[in-house]
């Protein structure tokens, strides 16, 4: 039994000490965000924070993590109360398939926690370990810049002021909160949690949408 502190809660984990953290997060703690991408520490899809620094959960055995503070994407915010990085990724629509996105957000989170004034070059260099196959990189960069702006302006009150796209590209983003354009979904609707639940009644799953 190993005690792991994840998102502020300590759990007694009954798994082999050489089990990589990722399997414990996904299976024992039923956390979805950190993803299995390679199991080799090459792609960053499993990125979480260990004592505030980005770490590759697919290769770190749990025996090295007793007493450490482990943070996953679930630990930094929810759809009801999103962290700046989550709000920014939604506002920039910075995902295609999204499989890499939780890892991207956590690595960016580590940088912004330490330095919300990171330059575009610093953000790019910092994200170098994480792979995206859909080519969403420029949106991810815009989202990280937007998250930085939210943090600097005192999130969440400054949402509407956070229009700067930083250095990364000029493609117009999607409908923003507070924009004039008509939008069928009110902002609060967009942020409501997805009520799909893959663990229950898959045969009857309706996949309701808003």
């Amino acid at each position: 039994m190993i005690d792991l502190t994840v998102n502020g809660q300590t759990h007694g984990i009954d798994a082999d000490p050489d089990t990589p953290l990722l399997y414990v997060l996904r299976e024992d703690l039923q956390l979805n965000a950190a993803k299995f991408g390679c199991g080799l520490g090459q792609c960053g899809a499993c990125t979480v924070l260990v004592d505030g620094a980005p770490a590759l959960a697919c290769v770190i055995p749990i025996m090295l993590l007793a007493g450490k503070q482990i943070t996953t994407l679930e630990g930094i915010g929810t759809l009801e109360d999103p962290a700046p990085i989550q709000q920014a990724f939604m506002e920039e629509q910075a995902a295609q398939c999204g499989f890499c996105i939780a890892g991207m957000m956590m690595r960016a989170q580590a940088l912004l926690q330490a330095n919300p004034r990171a330059s575009d070059a610093e953000i790019r260099a910092h994200l170098q370990p994480n792979l995206c196959r859909c080519g969403t990189h420029l949106r991810i960069l815009r989202a990280v810049h937007r998250a930085a702006a939210l943090i600097l302006s005192g999130h969440p009150a400054a949402t509407h002021a956070a229009g700067a796209s930083g250095q990364a590209g000029g493609a117009a983003g999607p409908d923003r909160h507070g924009s004039d354009g008509p939008s069928p979904a009110a902002p609060e609707d967009r942020l409501r949690p997805d009520d799909r639940d893959l663990s229950r009644h898959p045969q009857q799953r309706e996949r309701p949408e808003r």
Partner: protein, 752 residues
């Protein structure tokens, strides 16, 4: 068989007052079909989009007594945003509030059969079907309201889930549905909304799948956790065709958590209680396994002679070349002849393929990120000797696939294991090395172009040949499934077929959109497939557009013409001309400095399949002569995708395709020795990382209100590759015609 299922599922739930509108499954043939192209039922050819395959309105739309609308699509969300786009179409044409809408997608028990989600067909086919079905349902609701109100239908309109009378009185959709029969055939013509009145379509509605993806919600098949679920891993052979001699099955079965080792011929897998137990048991099993292997692969470095040396079935697809032109060009004008190639390219999904399967009471359910639930069901049923109606295949999103990756194979693996351990859901996931080594790659290709200019600097003759495998080895037949090929009683790999034009496979986009007075174009179809291949985003269009648009630049250089002006010289298509000009304008092409000394500018254009979206791309690069490395400084694209459903969705697709294609063009190549695939992870198969992302990128969308939807998910692959190659040539003065444009190739070119 599907007909029987349809009848058995047509039900009216009593006591709710609601007619639960049934949906019908087409009695479609199970023959393999071209990538995503609709196979119409007889007598429905005049219907719009996929209504041709499934013409009954209640296959697509149903409304319950509470006014909740459920739409059905056979197309699957692959990260391209299709769920959001299709919901927008229904919300707009049916006038239903966003919150009242549900979309059910790609489920063999519930949705129409729309074949594969492929070929940029989803919006064109499913979007068109849902749009017309929604408009026709709305019209029927108005007629029913008019009957009840004793008013002429023309005096009524719809708004937010209700029919509104001139008096202002509202009849809710939910109150109208019970007395209407929806099991009726769609009509060829619908009264579609005037695009000027759109409030949902042509708006950047936020994607409905993104909130779960940025908050740790259950968004993927990988996130499924069913009660009693077990975990599994497969031990794949070390090389194509390897045969399993023996393995220490007993030892592994005594490992902690191991439920069963399943062996059937050379298919070997382990099922455990916990996931990491499966990984460990797989590793022990793999170490103990002995295989017989043989050298089945060609020499990787000899791609050009390999492709030219394989037996080919040649088809002349264009021949307007007068015999006098096939020899020498007239009046001593310029003549060029060059050869281009691309290597095998991996889909490289970030998440390895995964599936969940459960076998209960003789019936199998498979949750898969397949692109084709119906063809996959057929293949799995055949492999397991089950009737297709005993297999249900449900799409659940996975990591982006960009074509036919390991999804269907993982589904087959899970299905085999579920049958071996009934009553327990089995979650099977591939390892990174398995995805890299065993996915069916995009085929290597070769193109040879010969052309001449007339004295006015226009193209006179154009001869082009493309050598390629097929671009679809997708399921339908069980033999397309990897596991099925390795069973004790194996299923044979199906005979490859060329995909027919106009969409084409290896010859997709082999015919330029330009006006060519004298042309001869030949598709050299290569049936032998030494490397496992299938559909990769844009199929042969990537290579053909890379080659054609590179060659256009080579001809423009020979004609001493500006590349954009040279293209416009021979392009009549007005929408193509608009896109070309828009991209040039967006990029400030005319204001660019002269290329050279390591700085270069490149341009390229295509209309995907010559019948879907148009796209033109311009890029600026810097080439470091010391390292041979290319830095893409900026890129600009213009796209005409017809009527726009979600402008941000189009932008996202074009941006993503452009970056992905830059990665293919600069970095990617499947590696192998004579026995094994050797590019088995991200170190041996590097792709683009943030350090190689352009500084900036802009996308201009040309609005075409009232025009048909044109699929745009793959249109940028070819133009991005060619624009980049043209920019490198402009920067260095050297033309590199083999992909990837690696530092080694660039340095070698600069040294000549």
């Amino acid at each position: 068989m599907s007909t029987a299922r349809t009848l058995s599922r047509r039900t009216v739930i009593k006591g709710t007052g609601a007619l639960v509108l049934s949906f019908s499954l087409s009695p479609s043939s199970w023959s393999r079909e071209a990538e995503g192209a609709a196979q119409p039922q007889t007598g429905t050819a005049s219907l719009p989009g996929s209504l041709r395959r499934d013409p009954l309105l209640d296959a697509w739309i149903r409304i319950d007594a509470g006014g909740r609308v459920t739409a059905f699509t056979g197309k699957a969300e692959l990260g391209q945003g299709i769920r959001t786009a299709l919901l927008q179409v229904v919300a707009e044409e049916l006038d239903v509030p966003w919150g009242h809408l549900t979309l059910v997608s790609a489920d063999t028990d519930r949705t129409p059969n729309e074949g594969y989600t492929a070929g940029s067909h989803s919006v064109q086919d499913s979007g068109t079907a849902l749009r017309n079905a929604s408009a026709q349902v709305r019209a029927i609701l108005i007629v029913e309201a008019a009957r009840r109100l004793s008013l002429p239908p023309e005096q009524l309109h719809t708004e937010s889930g209700a029919v509104i009378a001139p008096s202002g009185s509202r009849l809710l959709y939910g109150d109208l549905v019970a007395s209407i029969s929806w099991h009726v055939q769609a009509q060829p013509v619908s009264q579609l909304k005037d695009p000027g009145r759109f409030s949902v379509m042509n708006h950047p509605v936020p994607r409905v799948d993104i909130p779960a993806k940025v908050s740790g919600g259950a968004a993927y098949v990988q996130d499924m956790r069913l009660p009693g679920m077990l975990h599994a891993r497969v031990v794949r052979p070390p090389s194509y065709g390897a045969k399993l001699l023996d393995a220490d099955i007993k030892d592994v079965e005594s490992m902690p958590g191991v439920m069963k080792v399943v062996r059937n011929g050379s298919f070997l897998a382990v099922v455990t209680q916990r996931e990491f137990q499966a990984v460990k048991a797989m590793q022990v099993l793999a170490r103990s396994a002995r295989w017989s292997e043989s050298a089945t692969l060609p020499v990787e470095s000899d791609l050009r002679p390999l492709l030219l040396g394989l037996p080919s079935r040649d088809e002349v697809i264009v021949d307007t070349l007068a015999s006098s032109h096939s020899q020498a060009p007239a009046d001593g004008s310029v003549k060029l002849e060059v050869t281009y190639s691309r290597p095998y390219i991996a889909h490289g999904s970030i998440g390895p393929s995964c599936a969940v399967a459960k076998f209960t009471d003789g019936a199998l359910t498979v949750w898969s990120h397949t692109q084709g639930v119906y063809p996959d069901r057929q293949a799995i049923a055949e492999m397991l000797h089950l009737a297709p109606d005993k297999v249900r295949c449900i799409h659940v999103e996975g990591s982006g696939c960009y074509g036919h990756n390991g999804a269907d194979d993982a589904a087959a693996d899970a299905a085999l294991l579920a049958v071996a351990i009934p009553e327990r859901p089995i979650r099977l996931q591939w390892m990174r090395e398995q995805e890299h080594a065993w996915e069916p790659f995009g085929p290597a290709m070769l193109a040879r172009a010969r052309g001449s200019l007339d004295s006015s600097g226009r193209i006179d003759t154009w001869e082009y040949g493309v050598w390629s495998n097929t671009h679809s080895m997708r399921p339908g037949p069980a033999g397309a499934l990897l596991a099925a090929q390795y069973l004790a009683q194996p299923f044979p790999v199906p005979d490859p077929q060329p995909l027919p034009l106009p969409e084409g496979g290896g010859d997709r986009n082999a015919i330029p959109l330009y006006c060519l007075p004298h042309a001869r174009i030949v598709h050299h179809f290569l049936p032998d497939m030494p490397v496992r291949i299938s559909a990769l985003r844009s199929l042969g269009a990537h290579m053909n557009i890379f080659a054609i648009e590179s060659f256009m630049d080579e001809l423009a250089l020979a004609a001493r013409a500006d590349p954009v002006e040279f293209r416009l010289r021979q392009l009549d298509d007005p929408r193509g001309r608009d896109v070309l000009s828009a991209a040039a304008d967006e990029f400030h092409w005319a204001a660019r400095p002269a290329g050279g000394n390591g700085q270069g500018f490149g341009f390229a254009f295509a209309r995907y399949k010559n019948l879907a979206a148009y796209c033109a791309i311009a890029v600026q690069v810097e080439v470091n002569p010391g390292t041979g490395r290319v830095r893409v400084v900026r890129a600009a694209a213009a796209v005409d995708a017809g009527e726009v459903i979600n402008p941000d969705g189009i932008r996202n697709q074009i941006e993503g395709a452009l970056v992905q294609s830059l990665s293919w063009t600069l970095f990617e190549q499947v590696r192998f020795d004579r026995r094994r695939i050797t590019s088995v992870d991200w170190a041996t198969y590097p792709i683009l990382r943030f350090g190689s992302v352009p500084d900036s990128m802009t996308v201009r969308i040309l609005e075409r209100p009232g025009e048909p939807f044109l699929g745009c998910g793959e249109v940028a692959q070819g133009p991005a590759s060619a624009a980049l190659a043209n920019a490198v040539a402009n920067a260095t003065g050297k033309r590199i015609r083999d992909l990837p444009l690696s530092p080694q190739r660039i340095k070698a070119a600069l040294a000549t």
